[in-house]
Amino acid sequence: MEYVTILMVFGIALLVGGAMIGLPTLLAPRRATAVKAEPFECGKDLLALPEGRFAIKFSTVAIFFIIFDIEVMLIFPWAVQVRPLGWPGYLAMLVFLGILMLGFLYMWKKGGLEWD
């Protein structure tokens, strides 16, 4: 029951925030013109797409992230059973992490993390 207050805080925050975003769309006058639909570019002609070209390096980092992110998942079952597995389990996990670190080192040294 003590969580009810927190829930209420969430509720009020949601209400206020929602109202601030929602009310203008209901009340404010809207007259769309071709000029208004253009992205803001200091009155000049459009130079690039509004969302911009997104750099390929983002995807590289994302790919690296997802791999190392998931490898961590394989550690969880071991962590739950650390004591029953004992030293052999610890050793096996060290080998696993060692291989993982080798891959990480390779990625790092090969410039996979270079931003430019």
Partner: protein
Amino acid sequence: MGLQPYLILAACLFAIGLFGVLTRRNAIGILLGIELMLNAVNINLVAFARYAADPAGLIFTLFTISITVAEVALGLAIVILIFRVRLTVEADHLDLLKG
């Protein structure tokens, strides 16, 4: 609840993924279909493991998840490679090697 609903769910998911792979022309779309197929496998494995009270299935699920992720990462990397060389991700446009 018995085992059957889970198996049916997994079979449906697998079929949806299969449909996606066969009908999509976009490499990313095909990849998504393959993902669905592999996730159907995970549902199956978890359901069987729970039903038989055998942890081996759960461990296998962890392996399939990590392998799946490795596949996705590699797939995206290959898509980027193709995009850089060719500027398309449509599987249909890949017709240099024709039989």
